[in-house]
């Protein structure tokens, strides 16, 4: 029998154990062990979930558990998962484990570093399994402050500025979510003059269209800040580039997905009428993000900035897919979340490995590394190819689904946006191939580069894990689609019912 709370207990126990460890080696082993156990349990959940669905279990949420928490406000600890959350949980588990592997050589304050990483993952798991909006918000905020400390203490470059900017912008986003949340709460009716935060109950209620018009933008923009929605994306490049490798992986791989998941699960799912009304704005903004992100990447010379800006562009696809409000597009958006999470984690891991050896991330100073550190550069190339959407890798499957779904929307405006968004892939190819080419190929620019040692076991293990996941999704996307599409169907039912009912 699956109990979702175990997903929260494992990181908590790991965090406590990490604090009790005596030396850095113990800390690393404990953290890794915790994340492996977590990955194992997540996989168990995924397989059990799939077999239950295959056996014909049609309930919208599985493994539900509900405990009354603050009864006078009707706040509950209420957890449950559907296919989308399961996909997100798997993503989190994989990224956290690889992140811990990559940070094997962190020497400065090792204990605190791994403690914060584990705390971050605690917030992410909690967010993805929560079905009570209050608990969800709680976990959303849990995942902010550790990032501030991770970037501030272990970061590089203008780390104080980036850390502060990230913390304040994300908190600003969650403040918007909070206002929306309270407004939504007081617009629900749970009988006896009580209100509710229960996501499933609210989805069956009819929130008046006036209230939706007010709440939806707050929620969508609030969560959107987390996923670097244009024009609130500015924290992302600075934050990613200043963060230590594991934190970058986490930020881009998971943290940005919190936003996308929130936009879908809370904003679009609970307020479908408003989603329809505002759909054109969402598409406009996300198209700008996609194109702007792609062109901004062209101008970057720092490897981390390149990936950070391309993340803005790629996360634009998530918002784009959600904004299209067709089943295929939303499925594609979720796939893009998973795919981008894995791919960008791999990308940052590769950049981290390169930086650790060369101590520079400037493309101009790198060159010919394929000859000295072939494994790392191969990983880098694979990540790049996935990012530009090479068929056979996950990026292609996800983006293709988004585009197919978008084209189903017959309106001219949406068609034009789809074409523009498609066109951005060409730009992506330019910057990816350029970065990969000038880093790996050409003459060796610095004699020191000859002395480099290739990836160590931990780095190899992390890279291989991520690459396998990317390949699995790329080769057999139906596998992921089958997992999530029954649940996107439920979301779509809610959305289309509201339109018919109007």
């Amino acid at each position: 029998m699956i109990n979702l709370s175990i997903l929260l207990i494992i990181p908590l126990v790991t965090a406590v154990l990490v604090m009790l460890c005596r030396n850095a080696a113990q800390v690393r082993m404990t953290a890794l062990l915790g994340s492996v156990v977590q990955l194992g349990y997540s996989s168990l959940i995924m397989f059990d979930y799939m077999s239950q669905r295959a056996a014909g279990n049609k309930s919208p949420m599985l493994y539900e558990a509900k405990v009354s928490w603050f009864s006078n406000l009707n706040i509950e600890y209420y957890v449950g998962v559907d296919g989308i959350s399961v996909a997100m949980i798997m993503l989190t588990a994989v990224v956290v484990m690889t992140g811990i592997l990559i940070s094997w050589s962190v020497e400065k304050m090792t204990k605190e570093f791994f403690f914060l990483i584990v705390l971050l993952s605690f917030g992410a798991y909690g967010f993805f399994i929560s079905l009570d909006l209050f608990t969800m918000f709680f976990f959303l905020e849990v995942a902010v402050i550790p990032k501030f400390l991770l970037i501030g203490i272990w970061g590089s470059g203008k780390k104080e500025y980036s850390a502060m900017k990230l913390a304040l912008m994300l908190m600003g986003g969650s403040a918007l979510v909070l206002i929306g949340l309270l407004c939504l709460y007081f617009n629900t009716d749970a009988g006896n003059g009580m209100h509710t935060f229960d996501l499933m109950k609210i989805s069956h209620m009819h929130i008046s269209i006036e209230a939706q018009r007010f709440i939806f933008p707050l929620m969508f923009v609030g969560f959107g800040v987390f996923t670097a929605i244009f024009p609130f994306h500015t924290w992302a490049p600075d934050g990613h580039s200043s963060a230590p490798t594991a934190a970058s992986m986490f930020l881009a791989g998971i943290s940005m997905k919190l936003g996308g998941y929130g936009c879908l699960r809370v904003a679009a799912f609970l307020m479908p009428e408003a989603a329809h009304e505002y759909s054109w704005i969402i598409i406009l903004v996300s198209t700008i993000a996609i194109i702007y992100g792609a062109f901004a990447t062209l101008m970057q010379t720092d490897l981390k900035y390149i990936n950070a800006y391309s993340s803005v562009s790629h996360c634009g696809f998530v918002i784009f897919g959600i904004g299209m409000l067709t089943k295929t597009a939303i499925t594609g958006a979720v796939m893009q979340m998973v795919s981008h999470g894995l791919m960008t984690a791999l990308f940052f891991a590769a950049i981290g490995m390169i930086y650790e050896r060369t101590h520079t991330r400037q493309v101009a100073q790198l060159g010919g590394l394929l000859k000295t550190i072939p494994f790392i550069i191969t990983v880098f190339v694979i990540a790049g190819l996935c990012s530009l959407g090479l068929p056979g890798l996950s990026g292609f499957a996800a983006e293709m689904t988004v585009f197919m779904g978008s084209w189903q929307n017959p309106d001219t405006f949406y068609r034009v946006s789809t074409v523009l968004a498609c066109a951005s892939i060409v730009v992506t190819a330019v910057y990816i191939l350029r970065a990969v080419g000038s880093t790996g190929m050409g003459p060796i620019k610095n004699a020191d580069y000859l002395t480099f040692k290739d990836a160590r076991w931990n780095e190899k293990l992390a890279s291989v894990t991520l690459i396998l996941c990317i390949l699995a999704i790329g080769m057999a996307p139906f596998w992921l689609t089958n997992l999530i599409s029954p649940d996107t169907q439920i979301i779509m039912d809610n959305i289309s019912r509201s339109v018919v009912g109007r």
């Binding site: 928490w69 406000l73 849990v142 501030f148 400390l149 501030g152 104080e160 502060m164 908190m171």
Partner: protein, 469 residues
Amino acid sequence: MGIEYLQIMKSEMILTGIIFFLLFLKVWDGIKSNNSLLHITNVLLFLNVVAGLFFNTNGELFSGMFHTNNTLVLEKTILNVGTFLISMMAFDWLKDHKHLLEFYILLLCTLLGMDFMISSGNLLMFYLGLELSSIPLAALCNYDLHSIKSSESAVKMILSSAFASCILLFGISMLYGTTGTLNFVEMAPLLGHGNLQTLAFIFVFAGFAFKLSSVPFHLWTADVYEGAPVPVTAYLSVISKASIVFIFITALFQLFQNYGPMWYHMLYLSILLTITVGNLFAIRQDNIKRFLAFSSIAQVGYILLGISSGTIMGVSSALFFLMVYTFSNLGAFGVISLVAAKTGKDKISDFKGFYTHNKFASWVMAICLFSLAGIPPTAGFFAKMFLVTAGAAKGNYWLISIAVMNMVISLFYYLKVVKAIFIDENERPIEKLHGSLSLKIALTICIFGAITMGFASGLFEYINTITGK
């Protein structure tokens, strides 16, 4: 005097007993060592906290002048716990002080005054308690005997509190003049008629605002806090403030219930100004005591936000917030008092690189500041959420938006301190500080309270039940 006097005035009686016992110790002069005296006092204060939890009787005395019920017992417990923690934290500072027993006698007198004040059912009793709780405070502010700033702080304290009392008393006299009674229960239905009573209400409100240091009556706060010794500052910003909030709630909900719509609008304006001004000024501070002074002004704004809803939910979340605030703010003050007692430093920039040698104290500080900022998983998050939720029940989303956005601003300055402690480099960071055992115990209690209290939903539900009665 019957047994019921002892029962109903139990906490006051115990406090008076302790005060007399300390006086006796002073006169007897048998124990010379400061350390033993401090330990004895701390044990007594601990027993006081424990005794406050049991055998409580509800009832009223002196024809309604003094009353007690479960809510008041809870409020007194908050004050007792806070005083106990402050006393534990003051150990390092007081162990070399010449006038140690006088400090405690004065301190406990103010606590006694607060107990009487919040238990009062009569304006006269209320005023007596208020004066008893504020005049000795001025003496306490001056307890750094060689510091000019400390004297300045004391003078400012006495002048501003005298002024506030004047205003309050003026309002009270008008109320008495128009109604002919001083009893809360008798007076409440007679209010709401005529301009003179409205004026009186405004005066009383202003008097309270002065004591609460809500904007625009906040100007005395920062100077007084800066000059006073750290434990006294902690006392002022936590215990003294909490007691005023308690009686303020009683006054608004019981005495001035006829003025409901009016005090809502007054509070609205006051909240807006208090939160915003408090936050904006806090950003600019470099002295950590001034910084906490302004941040505590902003916190009062959030408490008022809860109260402004005029519901049971609002009151109980304000009480809950004050509980959490006691632990979180005292934790922060505990670390500051340790640093001040050992090194005399009190600038935020002095805290740069503090983490290098003082790991435990740094974590206490960080967690307490996060709790003040309302970051989960600390209890401050829950407390602020409840206040904001209670406030939002009125449907005034502009006010809520401003309050919530101010939480982001406040996060900025709290993070600035956290950044100084954890991130900033310093060539000569503060050395390893060895605090006394009692300080460590107090910090542990604070950090425990600041983390776990939010998850203990039973506590909040309990508060909600008892305030509902």
